[in-house]
Symmetry: C2
Subunit: 464 residues, 2 copies
């Protein structure tokens, strides 16, 4: 615009952007000036006639811009006192995004923190292909609010997959899609509390985050004993539910003992309690077939929970629960009437499973993780033969037993050498009924292939 703003009574230079139309540019410039405080509250603006003359534009354009800003609350117009900048304080904008921190000496270069698969191996090309096929065939109605349980396509694909690969007895109608395991546990916490449950037993070893989610729902989470046979489900009494990792105890890495599988099912049948089966990495077993899902033994008493966080990537935020039919309505009510999981990812995962890409991905991942596990156990046997490696049959982590009292110093030493490690004590229930044990929970799935050898070497260097 050729002419600066004159005749304001204040010395102010405005530059209405010319591209988006006179009125829009004028409105934007005035709003900006008011917002930043360049036009002080109470400032009287020129009459529309005089400003229009100054700017060489139609009076109506100015009047409309003023009206817009009055409507938005930036200006006030009073008969007899003209148009003024509204009288209100303008606070400073909120806290800016913190800048990424500089690398500190000893900040981790490598990580063996458990809980993540190798994210660099996410099958991007295959996933995009599945997304394209899914979007090409989905009817437009699929993009609406949809079924609160999740899309029919994904529930159908999962029912087939879980029956085939995990021995789960599921039909599509009793599956609820969730934004990962945490979301499912939140829903179940709400549902159990609404049913009058007060107590959910948990394992002596497990994720603190999971206990916290249950406690946030108003539930207490006492610990079950853990002995040389693993979690002792025989100790269950009047609790309303129990949270277990039957196929692969996290973090100890063993399957639930057969007697104790039977015991927990009998307990649930006898007392009407519910078993929450966290099947977080059931796909990964190396030496023989995976342990079948507990749910297959008692579909009426077990909620089977699964996720793509270990088989694909946590960032997908896709999980599922297979809910006993009588509880389905309550679970859906606790989830909310509107599905909280994106339809496009759900349709893509359904296509990914039914096309066979999921099986192919899991099988190839299983081979790669098995090789890592073999390299890890061989390296430890070679370099630190005193250390006992356990929980090797399945999953993406192993337990390395340490001499008593050394856990935190090993972790500290690793941190100084740029390797992030996690100790068993991080996963110990505050009232654990178990022998204290010093150990590392080594998530060998975490590094990308390119960093694996160096990460393993870094681990061997810090082992006592």
């Amino acid at each position: 615009m050729a002419r600066p703003w004159a005749a304001f009574g204040v010395d102010l230079h405005l530059e209405p952007a010319g591209t988006s139309g006179l009125r829009r540019g004028l409105t934007d410039a005035l709003r900006d000036a008011a917002r930043t405080g360049r036009l002080a509250p109470g400032t009287r603006l020129p009459s529309s006639r005089s400003l229009a003359a100054d700017l060489g534009i139609a009076r109506n354009t100015v009047a409309e811009a003023y009206a817009d800003l009055v409507a938005e609350g930036w200006l006030t117009a009073r008969q007899g006192s003209g148009t003024r900048v509204a009288d209100r304080a303008v606070p400073a904008p909120s806290a800016p995004e913190p800048a990424p921190r500089r690398r500190e000496p000893g900040a981790p270069v490598h990580s063996l923190i458990p809980g993540s698969p190798d994210l660099a191996a996410f099958p991007r090309t295959e996933w995009l292909k599945a997304a394209r096929r899914a979007l090409a065939t989905a009817p437009f109605q699929a993009l609406g609010y949809g079924d609160p349980r999740g899309t029919r396509e994904l529930r159908t694909a999962l029912a087939g997959y879980l029956a085939r690969a995990r021995g789960v007895r599921a039909d599509p109608g009793s599956i609820v899609i969730t934004a990962g395991f945490s979301h499912a546990l939140r829903i179940l916490g709400t549902m159990l509390r609404a049913r009058g449950v007060r107590t959910v037993a948990v394992e002596s070893y497990g994720l603190d985050d999971h206990r916290a989610l249950l406690r946030a729902a108003g539930l207490t989470t006492p610990a079950l004993p853990y002995d040389r046979l693993g979690t002792d489900t025989g100790a269950l009494t009047g609790q309303g539910a129990v949270l277990l990792t039957p196929a692969h105890q996290f973090p100890m890495g063993v399957p639930l003992h057969p007697d104790r599988r039977t015991a927990v099912v009998d307990w649930a049948r006898r007392t009407g309690a519910l078993v929450l089966e966290d099947d977080y990495d059931g796909e990964f077993r190396y030496d023989r077939q995976p342990v079948g899902a507990l749910q297959g033994l008692a579909p009426d008493r077990v909620v089977h929970l699964g996720t793509t966080s270990k088989s694909l990537a946590p960032g997908l935020r896709l999980g599922w629960m297979v809910v006993p039919s009588p509880l389905l309505d309550e679970a859906v009510a606790a989830k909310g009437r509107i599905d909280t999981c994106g339809v496009l990812d759900q349709l893509t995962l359904a296509e990914f499973i039914t096309s066979g890409a999921y099986d192919r991905h899991v099988r190839s991942a299983r081979l790669r993780y098995r090789r890592r596990r073999d390299a890890l156990t061989a390296a430890v046997a070679d370099r630190a033969p005193e250390i006992r490696v356990s929980g090797i049959a399945a999953g993406l982590h192993v337990l390395l037993g340490l001499p008593p009292g050394t856990e935190s110093s090993v972790i500290q030493a690793a941190a100084w050498q740029g390797l992030a490690l996690q100790g068993l004590s991080a996963h110990r229930h505050e009232q654990a009924v178990a022998e204290p044990l010093d150990a590392l929970v080594v998530g060998y799935g975490t590094p990308p292939d390119s960093a694996w050898a160096a990460t393993l070497e870094a681990l061997c260097r810090v082992l006592p």
Copy 2:
């Protein structure tokens, strides 16, 4: 065992009972899986070689078990298509997916229910392009659990977009990504309740689902008066927060009156209360610039809430809130420590916005909806000249005033003719402080283009 789970075929979970011989046990297990439907008809079984390797038994044993079951009719073996579960009736699973209902006489063919954009116009090709670009450039770490606020990429893209298009004062650090508006309202309900707030004022007209979400968080939701100037924010007193649709009242279709914009901000400043600004369709204004966001006036007291449900599709389940910085930690705590929104969709939307595809889509949608609105108002003026059309300046719906006492009969008549309509009474607060009014809330964004003309004609036929 020579080979672990080989990387071909499908995963199959079997538990052969060991006591009665390998072949017998395997045969029984497979038969049982087929009989109970756990292996669906048509499921392709692994080759005998691969299953033998998986189970660590002789290939011949598997081949013989397969042959037995083919002989019994449970399996079929075809040259070139492998061994599959035979195609036969399987006992119905416990709670089958309800079959799509037959069309009843009068079941809707056309819909003008508000709340949805034209889903057939979802930009599938552009979206997939953005997904491909986003996945091609994302570092693998982006696929992990991530920031509980949502991805930095999307928060940065939104901060720029909201400032430019809606006059919102936002920085990426104070934006929280949500699974749509409902999820955001749930989070805010939890947060407000945790702050000790008991009461959130709502409008006399609005969505019952929203009030229900607040009530589920333990809040009461009294109604603000609604008069000829719209919602009266001057009536706010000691409530801890208010939920408003300032840019475009839903369902009445008017912007919040300038005096009342000022009043609500002054009230929030004076009492320390919070304004929840539901900016559900702020992108769509036809006659002049959109009314700017209320948040721009008081970023310290207003939570600005937006969504892609009207601009793209509800099935994306992507929304956002701009939170005053002092409340950010509480909002994140109420959302949960793990992000509940899929990373891939977030990265795709960020790319969609920064590439300009979002603006292009919104502009072209605006033109199409404007044409529909013009056609609708012209048709009503021509065919039912007694009916007053209001709320036409913006959004995806208009209000058609009806003669007193006729609302439900018009909706009923429409239903019989296959047209789904919604009345204003569906959106009236149970304690509304407002003149009762008979009207239709006509969501002209809902039908696909192909059905628009017929839908409009169907509407005209049922108008009194």
